[in-house]
């Protein structure tokens, strides 16, 4: 007998598809109707499946129910509207939309939805919340957990973001080339931030981090499946995500504490993801274009490669290019770390101190590391400042451990 199980995250995955397809007809202005219908569909599924067992094709079952519910909804509205409309245009007969759930429609609608959500003109924080809710089917509570924020805050953030989305009155339709070209940058940036939210998240909950990362990969994968969005940058971003994700298992121990790169068990790296990263990186490098995703993917590639004599030399060169394309304090600090690996701690200290990012915990963390070998007192001082500045509990633990090691070493001298 075949044992039937519901695929993990089935509802969540289908939620975004159903909403996207329904929005084609209802328009974003009425996205709540589409979302209500999707939720009602799952409610019905959970009631019926619980008693009667799984249907043969659960996904098709969901689509049929959603389609019927959508049609019911339109008929319901029509009852009110026809009488008024008859008075104005008595002969016009509205053709009923058919809510087609073919794989082509789903992928077109999802792509259009990704573009709509990522271009809704919200702050990047709200944009990510919105993407998590509409594109990934996350609940308010789940989003709040991921951000380590109160549910009330998330609710407010989402309300504002949705108001903006509705204002755009975006019509979910197959995108044309011009729209895609002008908006793809913003879309990629949102997906990049969504991924980083998972990868560098403050939460210790490894499950949430993994889900955020794999959702970003899934959405970026959708972009590679359409010739218009399958660009060098998209592939570079996907390569970056694959390389980074390959180390997710190794980055944390069972207590949820961060494990530094050098101390990671490389056997835990996911080889399949590294191979995929290689594949997309090669695809990304077919043209002449070099974007920041190319450079970051290149850096991640070198990190995922066991050993090469000139590894850090390569990484430093990539950081040199990256910092010139786009300045960010974290890139500046990472570059200095690579600089230290190539030219030694002493030279790197003077590079680091020039950065003068005294309000950054990572700045003090780096200087603590760089002074570690030569000047324990200074190193401890920097680590202590880093502890004061960081909000992350895990980081506080890791830094405290470093101080203990230094003190122990001093005592032995």
């Amino acid at each position: 007998m075949e044992l039937k199980e519901i695929t993990p995250h089935l509802f969540r995955m289908e939620y975004s598809k159903i909403v996207a397809v329904l929005c084609k007809t209802f328009r974003l202005k009425n996205i709540e109707i589409a979302e209500d219908i999707a939720s009602e569909t799952f409610l019905k599924a959970s009631e019926i499946w619980a008693i009667k067992g799984l249907p043969d094709n659960p996904v098709a079952w969901l689509y049929t129910v959603a389609r019927n519910k959508a049609k019911d909804h339109l008929r319901h509205i029509a009852v009110f509207e026809t009488q008024i409309r008859h008075a104005i245009k008595p002969n016009e007969i509205e053709t009923e939309p058919d809510f087609e759930f073919s794989s082509q429609t789903i992928s077109d609608s999802q792509l259009a939805m990704i573009f709509a959500v990522c271009n809704s003109g919200n702050s990047s924080e709200s944009q990510i919340c919105l993407a998590l809710q509409i594109l990934c089917g996350f609940g308010v509570e789940e989003i709040a957990n991921a951000f380590l924020t109160k549910t009330e805050t998330i609710k407010k953030r989402l309300q504002r973001a949705r108001a903006n989305l509705r204002k755009n009155n975006f019509h979910i339709k197959p995108l044309n080339e011009i729209e895609i070209k002008s908006q793809l940058d913003t879309v990629l940036k949102t997906l990049y931030l969504l991924f980083n939210e998972g990868y560098f998240s403050n939460t210790n909950n490894q499950l949430i981090r993994k889900e955020l990362c794999s959702e970003s990969v899934r959405l970026t994968l959708i972009l590679t499946q359409n010739p218009l969005t399958d660009t060098a940058q998209t592939n570079a971003l996907l390569a970056l995500m694959c390389f980074q994700s390959s180390r997710l298992e190794a980055r944390m121990n069972v207590n949820g504490e961060a494990i530094l790169f050098d101390e990671q068990d490389k056997k835990l790296w996911d080889k399949l993801l590294i191979e995929k990263g290689n594949y997309y990186l090669v695809k990304a490098c077919k043209g002449n274009e070099i974007s920041k995703y190319h450079l970051e993917a290149g850096i991640a590639y070198w990190h995922s490669t066991p050993t090469d004599k000139n590894k850090w030399q390569h990484i430093l060169q990539l950081y040199n290019q990256l910092i010139l394309i786009e300045y960010s304090p974290i890139t500046a600090l990472n570059r200095t770390f690579a600089f230290a690996k190539v030219y030694g701690h002493e030279k790197a200290i003077s590079e680091a101190e020039k950065l003068n990012l005294t309000n950054s915990n990572s700045y003090h963390g780096l200087l603590g590391y760089l002074y570690g070998d030569s000047d324990s007192e200074r190193a401890i001082n920097h680590y202590e400042q880093a502890i004061k500045l960081t909000k992350s509990k895990t980081e506080k633990q890791t830094l405290t451990k470093q101080i203990e090691i230094l003190k122990l070493r001093e005592d032995k001298r």
Partner: protein, 113 residues
């Protein structure tokens, strides 16, 4: 924050006769140097380096080859940086790799429009 133009001058004829390996090391030093500025968020345009040959056109219509026939040090490249003062900009330029082969850096404030 003010903007400054760094003009790198040198004598193309006195360029070191370096091996490919040494040339690469020198290139690497330049890249590290500019990226070091960028890491302090002080680069506004990484600029360009110039090819050695050129033309000079004068008011009397005479065209001559290259600036370096008359001046020993010709412009080799430029970079635009951000800095609070010309004093700081000068300090920033102090470890420019060009000094390792006898060139100079001219630091000029960009006049705000």
């Amino acid at each position: 924050m003010k903007e400054f133009l760094l003009v790198f001058r040198g004598d193309y004829n006195s360029m070191p006769n370096a091996s490919p390996e040494e040339m690469q090391a020198l290139t690497q030093r330049w890249m590290n140097w500019v990226a070091g500025f960028a890491a302090q968020n002080k680069v506004s345009d990484r600029g360009n380096s110039l090819v050695s040959s050129g033309k000079v056109l004068k008011s009397d219509g005479i065209i001559s080859d290259g600036p370096y026939t008359e001046i020993k040090e010709s412009i080799m490249g430029y970079t635009l940086i951000k800095s609070v003062s010309i004093e700081e900009a000068t300090v920033l330029a102090q470890d420019c790799p060009i000094f390792s082969y006898g060139g100079s850096v001219e630091i000029r404030e960009i006049r705000a429009m």
